[in-house]
Symmetry: D4
Subunit: 161 residues, 8 copies
Amino acid sequence: MGVKVGIIMGSQSDWATMREAAAMLDELGVEHETRIVSAHRTPDRLWDYGRSAVERGLQVIIAGAGGAAHLPGMMASKTRVPVIGVPVQTRALSGVDSLYSILQMPRGFPVATMAIGFAGAANAGLMAAGILALQDDALAQRLDDWRAALSASIPEEPSDD
Amino acid sequence: MGVKVGIIMGSQSDWATMREAAAMLDELGVEHETRIVSAHRTPDRLWDYGRSAVERGLQVIIAGAGGAAHLPGMMASKTRVPVIGVPVQTRALSGVDSLYSILQMPRGFPVATMAIGFAGAANAGLMAAGILALQDDALAQRLDDWRAALSASIPEEPSDD
Amino acid sequence: MGVKVGIIMGSQSDWATMREAAAMLDELGVEHETRIVSAHRTPDRLWDYGRSAVERGLQVIIAGAGGAAHLPGMMASKTRVPVIGVPVQTRALSGVDSLYSILQMPRGFPVATMAIGFAGAANAGLMAAGILALQDDALAQRLDDWRAALSASIPEEPSDD
Amino acid sequence: MGVKVGIIMGSQSDWATMREAAAMLDELGVEHETRIVSAHRTPDRLWDYGRSAVERGLQVIIAGAGGAAHLPGMMASKTRVPVIGVPVQTRALSGVDSLYSILQMPRGFPVATMAIGFAGAANAGLMAAGILALQDDALAQRLDDWRAALSASIPEEPSDD
Amino acid sequence: MGVKVGIIMGSQSDWATMREAAAMLDELGVEHETRIVSAHRTPDRLWDYGRSAVERGLQVIIAGAGGAAHLPGMMASKTRVPVIGVPVQTRALSGVDSLYSILQMPRGFPVATMAIGFAGAANAGLMAAGILALQDDALAQRLDDWRAALSASIPEEPSDD
Amino acid sequence: MGVKVGIIMGSQSDWATMREAAAMLDELGVEHETRIVSAHRTPDRLWDYGRSAVERGLQVIIAGAGGAAHLPGMMASKTRVPVIGVPVQTRALSGVDSLYSILQMPRGFPVATMAIGFAGAANAGLMAAGILALQDDALAQRLDDWRAALSASIPEEPSDD
Amino acid sequence: MGVKVGIIMGSQSDWATMREAAAMLDELGVEHETRIVSAHRTPDRLWDYGRSAVERGLQVIIAGAGGAAHLPGMMASKTRVPVIGVPVQTRALSGVDSLYSILQMPRGFPVATMAIGFAGAANAGLMAAGILALQDDALAQRLDDWRAALSASIPEEPSDD
Amino acid sequence: MGVKVGIIMGSQSDWATMREAAAMLDELGVEHETRIVSAHRTPDRLWDYGRSAVERGLQVIIAGAGGAAHLPGMMASKTRVPVIGVPVQTRALSGVDSLYSILQMPRGFPVATMAIGFAGAANAGLMAAGILALQDDALAQRLDDWRAALSASIPEEPSDD
């Protein structure tokens, strides 16, 4: 069977953020592909990616973009495969532009929006894993372990380093 | 088998918004339960709901709340079942407070945040259905049909009333 | 020759705003067509509209949308015909979501963004007329007259009713 | 008798901010403990801390957190001991996310919110001291002295250094 | 002994909000006084109120104001008695102006800021009660009971009306 | 001698706000003129008004406008007579657009900006009077009296009406 | 025939942004002139530029400014030649002040507003080219080629560099 | 005769901004004094300064402050001498907190608010000079010259330096 998670982003410059998603999936042992799919510069690529998502067996699409960030929402309009959106932080508006462009989808086309920036990208990986874990007990166990390890890593008291 | 989608909300007043999620799930033939679980007023209920979510067979939790909206994020910390967050519109800050409280989760605990208000609640239902459809071909078909019907319903031209 | 201005909008509900654009074009004697083209619900319609715009002789496209308003920017990615964007006012975020989704286009795909709401829609009509007037002396004259009449209509002093 | 002020924070990274609170309490001679209590990563620790606060003799809890900052509000739901919240400044949203998550508590669960960042943390220490001073005349005197010294330290005129 | 809680507000128009604080204190059996003290229109009244607060035995001051809301912060500069600030919702800026004017106090003069509007005013009453309860076991019990009753009042499921 | 205060506004619709300025000046016995001067629709009128302001003996210009509110700043560029700006509240952006357009003047051209809306317009009248009072002892006395009466009008306690 | 595109800006400091517009026009082979025209410091220059725009044969004016950015809107009031506005990023308000001052024009005077900062300036050049291309087939071809090259330059996958 | 312009500021750290006002007054030959007057740390100094302003012959007070910036408004409540407010830029909220605290004064107490930061401080000097120039022809001439020189200094074209 093919890869189940696609990580797509609007441009090479988004990769600095989106590789957090890829790293998280690696850590959880979830195979994934990474693609640059620009809503505006490569709309046909977006079309093809969306149209073939179900038949290719994709189960989650993680889409990151900044500014007038149309990629996640347009992907959600092309496929019923769940789309997770990551608002990339921007220069002038700190990613609030990315956020509103991704979040405020009209009735009919949900995008599962994550926090702005790095934490959001990492969490997109975790959300994807959580969705896949519904059908994959081993992954569910790895996710539980990851969460338990995170909790266990928190010291009781802050230190001055 | 038990119900797979839980719709929870912080208070009775959130129901006006959250019933859009319930209505959407009804429309798509997805069984669900609805509960009031207040992060602040009934924290133990939140604890129990989160702790038992996996064993009860819940596959998606839709959580709506307004203001300092801690319910979706706290639920995400208690269970690996995917949590979809709906920011309820508020009086003074129009739901931007709800949005930031739900969206800006730290690395480790994603909440799939939807648009503020009614559209977001309806989309939470669709997102839940999209996740369940990964394992349910009949639901996938109903979701495809729903999407096709939505597209088909759009007239070519606007009318003056 | 065919119509030179296309007014498109994301949904029937945008018509309340966008008819200001149509009315302005009527007032200036500029033929136009009006279409509902939803970026998310009818993406193929968007594709076709954009792809055929040049050959159909369209010279300006006015696109209005609200929320995660992807229509103007996606249209700008599909055609080099100038696109004027109108951010429709929204319930929770007053159209700031629409604005950022339309305005913050990446290098390569400009959208000529107008003010939020009614004034912006009327101005979209004027901007379209101004562009066409570059090749149409009669329209240029009508536009000059319209502007002169507007200036002449301003009373010297405010009145109490 | 045990310590009367607990300073808790969501993560080690909040300590850079929260040590201003600790330093202020040191300056005023108020004993305190410092703990990392993450609402999301160590929810049970939060539960225990809140549940035992009264019986341990805590009189004020200072809680700092950033982003979707649920710690102060969740603590306020678990104990009637007054909770002072400090919004930690964040990367993308400058701490407005932290602020709204802490401030906008629903009826029933107040959090005494301080300014965003360093000044807010220092002021949390002063507010805690002000509350304890209601029962501690010596502390009241030290607080009065501290305030008088602050006022006395202000030069009449600005200097160019 | 005299009254321990003073509720002050910038103008008569703030009373619609601030009576929520008074009502909460009534409900919890905490005596209080209510005064109009305008930072700008009656600065001397502010001075006197602040200067005499300790000797009059006030233990908490609840101060509500809107717009350039200077009352809470100026009161905090005049007395070490803990000041709780309530940002009153405003016409143009929804109370964000009130909030920033109250919250962003410099190091030295904390104001315990509550949520914008009605909920914030009610919570100011609860916070005041929580502070007094540190020295008043009977009030502590009433506060515990009030909180327990609030929790107990939450139904399990939302109802359609 | 001629009138010393000019109240100008961008359109008839601003009069609802700006008459607060006129009423205040009436109350303080300060003669004034009222004019509609639209920066965009009647730029030549703006030019003439600004160019003749000094020779006509104007000592203060109060300018109100909404949206992209260019009138106050453009007037400040045309005359050294002090310009007081009043941001008129707007539909979509609540007057924050008016505010930023008036306030954020570059080095060289100050506009004395007042609060958004009605209070700001009334205060523009008071500010104008305060400037004229520097050369007019009788007006200074009337202004002192007005201020004293305002302070005296504040009741000690709020009333339930 | 003379130059068809004028790039104007409020000050020398805007050139760092606006040269992106000039560079784009150079790249597309569109002649242009660049001028400093300050709405506040050289209002007569603005007047003259606007008044002579049509007779000089200008077909598009690109105007960039920051803060209370009145240049684009004032130019739009002086000429029917289409004006494209570029909000320059600012220190305190990140260009939101520039944006609102340019965008929120009243009915009658559209400004085709671009994104804040560098991308907006580059896009202003593209928008100008798109308008001129309506009458210039060779330019239309160069614009099509530029767009095609941009699309072709996007790699399939992100690289770690 | 004594000095006519007082420049006051909330703390030594505001001097970096406020010296722009002093420098401008120096440039225009207007004598002034500079004082640190903290609304919160030295409220009595504020009281005294305000109470004696008229009798000391002050004709304009320039007040700069940051955060919960109460100094300008409190000064305006203590004297009818015109107060010009300068919002100092802040760390977390970029001076929007300072702005709202200064600008949004209630009916009765205007503060002539300038732009956030350096430009606003310089403009405060110019506004003060403009007010004094109403009674001082020599200063009026110097101000006219300053303005003319500013306009004359603007080059026709931007340069690449």
